[in-house]
């Protein structure tokens, strides 16, 4: 009985692992996320820029929040996702895991950089300086470095499956390290100088301020899902290029084109 369960679980697992299954299943997901991202982002953006009331003390500069916060959130979540992928890749040697890491890296770097940038742009009017050394800023900066480190490592290794293992290992180690960093940084921050501007006590926002933020956050998540998934699909095609199912996939259209010519 239990044997059957475990075996069926195994089968499911292998299915999950198989690039082909992934390619077919995600076909619709990509569309879904893409469309909803488009909707949410446009709605949230217009709402946030045009209709949300100006902040009574920060004026309009606070609208940067609608980019800044979601970017920071998604940037962090993506790294956690990479950590999970790394774990899977190390333990089960699942090829898809590396595809996921490869697809996540650029977006993660981009969004984290965006969070940093928007943050410092925001800091100019509010803090009066582009940059303050503060718990969140530091942990974000370190996050960016973790991303860059993995990126550099992947760049430096030629052999594909070694690259996969190395990247998996590092992202796993990094993920274990992230909570420590976050905690220690906050701890350090409270221990030392009182932050010139504390992010933790958020301005009590009226709903018409944070609702668009919520929409934007959702939109960013959908966009991330769309982006990562579609790039994973491309990568899968590239790697499985020689296999039969890919050739079958492209046999028909290729044939029709050739007949047209």
């Amino acid at each position: 009985m239990s044997g059957r369960i475990t075996s069926s679980l195994k089968q499911l697992w292998h299915k999950l692992g198989s690039p082909r299954w992934f390619y077919e299943i995600t076909h619709n997901w990509v569309r879904f996320f893409g469309v909803s991202a488009l909707l949410l982002l446009t709605v949230g953006f217009i709402w946030g820029i045009a209709f949300a009331p100006a902040d009574y003390q920060q004026g309009n500069s606070f609208r940067i929040m609608y980019v800044h916060v979601p970017a920071a959130m998604v940037g962090q979540s993506l790294y956690l996702g990479m950590g999970v992928a790394g774990f899977v890749g190390l333990v089960w040697r699942m090829k898809l895991a590396d595809v996921a890491i490869a697809a996540t890296l650029p977006l993660g770097i981009g969004l984290t950089a965006l969070a940093l940038f928007s943050g410092s742009v925001w800091g100019r009017p509010t803090w009066g300086s582009w940059w303050e050394w503060d718990g969140r800023t530091v942990s974000t900066l370190v996050l960016l470095f973790l991303y860059l480190g993995i990126y550099a490592l992947r760049e430096a290794i030629a052999d594909s499956n070694l690259r996969a293992r190395a990247a998996a290992l590092v992202s796993l180690v990094g993920t274990v390290n992230i909570p420590v960093i976050k905690y220690s940084v906050d701890w350090w921050n409270t221990l030392h100088q009182p932050a010139s501007f504390s992010l933790t006590e958020k301005p009590a926002m009226p709903p018409e301020m944070w609702l668009p933020l919520l929409v934007m956050a959702l939109g960013f998540y959908c966009f991330a899902a769309h982006n990562v998934l579609s790039r994973m699909r491309l990568e899968v095609l590239r790697r499985e290029g020689k296999t039969r199912w890919v050739n079958e996939l492209f046999a028909a259209p290729a044939a029709s084109q050739s007949t047209e010519r």
């Binding site: 190390l90 370190v142 470095f145 973790l146 860059l148 480190g149 550099a152 490592l153 430096a156 290794i157 052999d159 070694l162 293992r165 190395a166 290992l169 590092v170 180690v173 990094g174 274990v176 390290n177 420590v180 960093i181 220690s184 940084v185 701890w187 350090w188 221990l191």
Partner: protein, 220 residues
């Protein structure tokens, strides 16, 4: 185990350079700072202590790159992974020796450094304690990065990029404890955290290093 440690020590001593030099490097860069801003010793020693820790981190990193490289180039690393009865014991031995040459050495020379930095003598013992507790984490975590980058001919800098984030917590707690010592407050809390870092590193790092070494060895 004994045979392994012995070999490590002999090899380290053969390249005499490697023993005195982390220390020499530390001294020189402290010198650099003193030169770079002469005011340093007049200000309250808080910033001093911080410079101190950063320099220890950098010193540690400078010596990290050599941790496995020679064995990698000579093929001894393959032999270790293939025929080691318990590879991670061999790895631990290597890490331990690295710590002897970097962390422990620096700890022992704290009084000298302290004099250079103008710390008050009664601070020496607590600071030595802090270093004794904190530096193992550096060698342990560092070994992971060293193992990952030993395959690259120009690993030095990529190593730094991978390692420094791992060092961050150690820096923060270590620095906090030193700062507490200097300002005469209780430094047990950060010290405990530091010990935690080291022990966690001790339990995880050797395995990660082992995995990393296997990857590097397969690179040729």
């Amino acid at each position: 185990m004994k045979g392994l440690l012995q070999r490590e020590l002999v090899a380290t001593l053969r390249t005499r350079g490697s023993v005195i030099n982390p220390l020499g490097f530390l001294l020189l860069s402290i010198l650099l700072f003193a030169i770079a801003d002469p005011g340093v010793r007049d200000e309250q020693s808080k910033d001093l202590s911080s410079v101190f820790w950063v320099l220890i981190l950098l010193t540690n990193m400078l010596s990290l790159d050599a941790m496995f490289r020679r064995d990698f180039d000579s093929g001894a690393l393959e032999q270790m992974l293939i025929s080691a009865h318990m590879p991670f014991v061999a790895i631990l031995a290597r890490i331990f020796v690295h710590w002897l040459g970097s962390g422990l050495l620096i700890t022992l020379f704290v009084p000298l450094l302290g004099l250079l930095l103008g710390l008050r003598p009664e601070m020496f013992l607590p600071i030595m304690l802090v270093l004794l507790v904190g530096t193992p984490a550096l060698s342990l975590l560092g070994s992971i990065g060293a193992a990952l980058t030993v395959g690259f001919s120009r690993g030095g800098a990529i190593l730094a990029l991978l390692i420094l984030p791992l060092f961050l917590p150690v820096l923060i707690f270590g620095n906090a404890s030193v700062a507490a010592v200097v300002s005469g407050q209780a430094y047990t809390a950060p010290l405990v955290w530091l010990a935690l870092c080291s022990s966690v590193a001790l339990t995880l790092a050797p395995w990660a290093t082992w995995a990393a070494l296997k990857i590097s060895v397969e690179m040729q």
